[in-house]
Subunit: 271 residues, 3 copies
């Protein structure tokens, strides 16, 4: 895998710099996001009040915006902090959780896309299709559009339109920077039975972006780490229905993750 040198560089920078990843995120999965950042060697900070969020992001290596439980306070901060990050050259990653489910989510995501320059946009197929404009069907915050059909074209076109990396995660993850397109075949369907695995993937991408390496490689790496961690956790699960134990093992897999896991297990191919 030709990407392995790039991944190694990102790994080393995480280990050396311990990137601070500022999150404006939802209150459902925020603890998991903080723990996954720490488990892989970064440092998380969550601060969403408009009166301090711009100052906080100034200290950060990257910014994660997650609209999962958006409200008046966070909506104001998304824009303020996103712009501040842009002005300081700090990479911004957006997770448009449930966009399309309500007008407020759609409006909020549109205004972020209009006013903030993203490094990476990560969503499931329903969310990305909604942004793309082809009417992704949304029901709540879980994707009900499992078909990855047309994913390559959507990722390419949307990436060019938004001038950022687009990561569509699902059974096969599709990631593009508008030029190259990667497919990733890691992961396991049990990940969808635990809340926050999408959010955590976005946080890992945010951490990888915090190294200031190429955002395409950062997005591919963050996504692949989550997929491989899911596989490792599932493999050692004695009872395959034991969701609670799976969650623990998932965090174990991230905490003990190494470049060798990517080398041996990564199923990434350029298409």
């Amino acid at each position: 895998m030709e990407l392995i040198q790039d991944f190694n560089k990102i790994f080393e920078r995480i280990s050396k710099d311990k990137p601070l990843v500022h999150h404006i995120t939802n209150y459902v999965t925020v603890n998991d996001c903080a723990n996954i950042i720490l488990a892989l060697g970064g440092s998380p900070v969550m601060a969403d009040d408009p009166k301090e969020a711009e100052e906080m992001v100034s200290l950060a290596s990257s910014l994660v915006l997650n609209v999962g439980t958006l409200n008046q306070r966070t909506i104001e901060s998304f824009i303020l902090v996103g712009k501040k990050a842009n002005s300081l050259g700090i990479p911004v990653v957006l997770d448009p959780v449930g966009v399309g489910a309500t007008k407020l989510r759609e409006k909020t995501v549109r205004s972020i896309l209009d006013e903030v320059k993203l490094s990476v946009l990560r969503g499931n197929m329903s969310e990305i299709k909604n942004i793309y404009g082809s009417g992704g069907i949304i029901r709540g915050v879980d994707s009900i559009d499992d078909s990855m059909k047309g994913g390559k074209e959507i990722a390419l076109e949307l990436s060019n339109r938004l001038k950022c990396v687009v990561a569509i995660t699902g059974a096969t993850d599709i990631i593009s920077d508008g030029d190259k397109v990667y497919y990733i075949d890691n992961g396991h369907e049990i990940l969808a039975r635990v809340t926050g695995t999408g959010c955590m993937t976005t946080s890992l991408i945010g951490l990888c972006c915090g190294t200031k390496e190429n955002p395409l490689q950062a997005a591919v790496m963050g996504t692949t780490i989550m997929g491989i961690a899911g596989e490792k956790a599932y493999e050692t699960l004695e009872n395959k229905e034991h969701i609670g134990t799976f969650r623990v093992k998932l965090m174990d897999a991230i905490g003990s993750f190494s470049i060798k896991d990517l080398e041996k297990r990564g199923k990434i191919h350029e298409v």
Copy 2:
């Protein structure tokens, strides 16, 4: 157990429809509530901003209102969304966490009861007595009224007054629709040593209600599942003080729950 056919029907509908359970809930136990819904096969969504909550509930199969960390934003949404759910025929389940501890909680719960038609009200004896009007003693959010004395009468009368199922959970759970009364003797006291087991029971009831089956059976089933899961988790616990491991095993038990567990272990009797 005559209820087993009804439970089976609910189980099958959950498996088939994957009901979307909209929560307006507290930020302490929200992650546990989301995970327990997923573990039993439903789909959770949490969205509490008044500007989107009505639209979100329109997509849902049921609605859970939990006042655990109520604030200006959620108080407004409770009423808006509850009414919207009523207008659409979506079942509403209320968890009046800590009602009676403060005037704000009492006022909020009263206004929900006045303006929203519930399918199920679930609380501990202190909370239910407060609503009933016999002055349940409240200290914080945990029940300090362990006596189930008079529970049958309270459940019956309150159920008739509110025209909804009333579930009083405790050492013995008492559930009534104003006509029938069930006692459930499942569960284990260790459940009280973990935060959120009450909230999670309410969420499970919400999920069962999301099948649109009879709310009495839904409430009995959700409550019994939690009790049995607690028993199963406790039985396999090597060190009975290991609260952390207990929490993991509790989620394992929900994730691997089957109708057989209800059949073999359910201690439900009509009184």
Copy 3:
């Protein structure tokens, strides 16, 4: 260890009174804080709306203020509730998470210190130095000032200035009431790889203070319990990188904690 009688008294009171610990805290680690209070035998309550927080604290044995994700709502409540607790003789413990990272945090913490009489202030070296005025370097919410140099003098002086116990936690914890100074050498560096261990330590101190025993001993006891629990959890960890399992075992260690652990493992010395 001469403190052991005092610890025993605190333990017995927790077991007898089940102190109610009111938290106004952040939404990242709130679930862990609630669970750790329950695991050691207390009762947690989280309520942050200014319209009910004063009434809620009136029922409590102690109050924990944690500024981790402060916002307009909680900032107002910190002061209102802190004053109310003071007027009722309820001990107040402050965790100035990330103070110095932003002006808002600094201003908020200053106004709490000005208007509320604390029993215990607990922070890492960066945070305490910021309050002390010697310019602790802050980056996000994690301490990057690992040197404990000068810690004894800072703890002593700040304690005298604020007229409260000051607990600086780190590789060696330093705790003073302005007269005595204790060093605690328990704990393990893996605790820093899990989010919320600082917040949880503050909550344990809050629980110990809820017994109304001497706040110096309460602070030493709460801090030592966390350190020993970390050691016990780490020792039985098969793979030392398994952060997820470590978190579970940490809660197990708190749930099964006994006075014997303090007696056998406590590394506390007066200096």
